[in-house]
């Protein structure tokens, strides 16, 4: 499986500077970079000085607006060329999004394409936020807000020019690990490590911004698998595209000793992943939803109602 990392951030956040520096690092030169630009004429890929071991594949047009097949085709074509020896045998793929991209459709493509899923594994989303303009950008641009909300790791750039806009970032994404680096001098091993599991994100709490919110559900008792399935179905049915992201660590009644990891981007649900054991003493189910305009208590109330029905039906059947 080839790991794929998404590097996103608003216009001018420093994505190209970061990637240029990373590709010059011999330890990371065996990376394939897909540069996605917003506009007719590819420029960014010319600005990134790739080393001989790495290369750049430019795809014009905004990935989040163009058909999803574009990314799938690009990745699969690269893989075919890699296997045929036509391009260097890269170890990972980095996708640099346009500054105006909403990463969600890109994540969709990676999670839902069967051919991609068999050959590529989504490693995580790295979002860059400019220390100088970040707070204002986040206040004005929904695309920038989504980039931060969907981040698994956040890198504040240009910290030598201004303090990190941590409050604005944390209002959107309270738990993603955050570091600062000037001139692209970030540690690639940290940036492109696998995304943290929900168990490592205990401090998610309710934070609001205009129209966007993260909602936390905690349950002491294990949840029946049927109730969880029906709940996610109900959320997908009624929240639709308003549900941006869902992460969780859930104790299912059928397997309470092995927590199930939930992961969904909008209405696309990643297959459940099962951990061997709970990572700590806390065995409560914890689910975090990030959404737009979803009433704060709706998910928990819906889950409670469905759980009650499932329990009543189980009792009725003995």
């Amino acid at each position: 499986m080839i790991p794929v990392s998404i590097v996103t951030g608003f216009l001018g956040a420093g994505k190209s500077t970061l990637l240029r520096r990373i590709l010059r690092d011999p330890a990371w030169a065996d990376s394939a970079l897909i540069v996605n630009e917003f506009g007719e004429i590819p420029l960014d890929h010319d600005l990134i000085a790739a080393s001989e071991e790495s290369f750049v594949s430019a795809s014009t047009g905004c990935l989040c607006c163009v058909v999803r097949d574009d990314l799938s085709k690009t990745l699969l074509d690269l893989l075919r060329r890699r296997e045929a020896g036509e391009v260097p045998r890269y170890a990972r793929v980095l996708v640099e999004t346009s500054g105006l991209a909403d990463p969600a459709p890109i994540l969709h493509a990676l999670m839902t394409d069967a051919a991609l899923g068999a050959t590529h594994a989504l490693q995580g989303v790295v979002t860059l936020v400019d220390a100088l303009h970040g707070a204002a950008t986040l206040a004005r641009h929904p695309e920038a807000q989504r980039q931060v909300m969907l981040a698994d790791r956040i890198l504040v750039t240009k910290p030598d020019l201004a303090p990190a806009p941590e409050a604005a970032i944390r209002a959107l994404n309270p738990a993603a690990p955050l570091r600062a680096a000037a001139h692209g001098a970030a540690e690639p091993g940290w940036l492109f490590a696998p995304a943290p599991r929900p168990a490592e994100l205990p401090d998610w709490a309710a934070h609001h911004t205009v129209g966007l919110a993260s909602i936390v559900i905690e349950r002491e008792a294990p949840v029946p698998a049927l109730a969880l399935t029906l709940w996610m179905q109900g959320l997908a049915e009624h929240a639709g595209a308003r549900l941006l992201r869902l992460k969780g660590l859930v104790a299912l009644a059928e397997q309470p000793d092995r927590p199930a990891v939930l992961h969904a981007i909008q209405h696309m649900v990643h297959p459940l992943e099962w951990l061997e054991r709970w990572p700590g003493e806390d065995r409560r189910s914890r689910i975090v939803l990030i959404g737009e305009g979803i009433p704060r208590h709706f998910p928990a109330r819906l889950l409670a109602a469905i759980e009650a029905e499932v329990a009543a039906e189980a009792a009725r059947r003995g």
Binding site: L272, P295, A304
Partner: protein
């Protein structure tokens, strides 16, 4: 689910659908007026009515619902909020 709990769930659902309606507890159930003025009432079904769990009533009509998800779907239709995005999800089991 108690009538106040049902009212709160339906109020959240109506807000999610963008429907201006204010449900209230009334006569062992929840009453509300649809945007077109139609009076609606949601009642928990009696144990003997199983598999029906909920009734959605409007003047001259009584619709049975076998689950809370079915009730939300029926209510959404009754208040003119359109169709949701019907999806089928599956929970994978761990390897034994």
């Amino acid at each position: 689910m108690t009538p106040p709990e049902l009212r709160d769930l339906l109020a959240d659902a109506l807000a999610l659908w963008g429907v201006e309606a204010r449900p209230r507890v009334a006569e062992d159930g929840v009453a509300l007026a649809a945007p077109d003025g139609t009076a609606l009432r949601v009642l928990a079904a009696a144990p003997g009515d199983l598999p029906v769990r909920w009734w959605l009533e409007r003047p001259g009509q009584r619709r049975p619902c076998t689950s809370v998800l079915g009730l939300l779907r029926a209510l959404r239709n009754a208040v003119g909020a359109g169709e949701g995005e019907a999806r089928r999800l599956r929970v994978a089991r761990p390897d034994p």
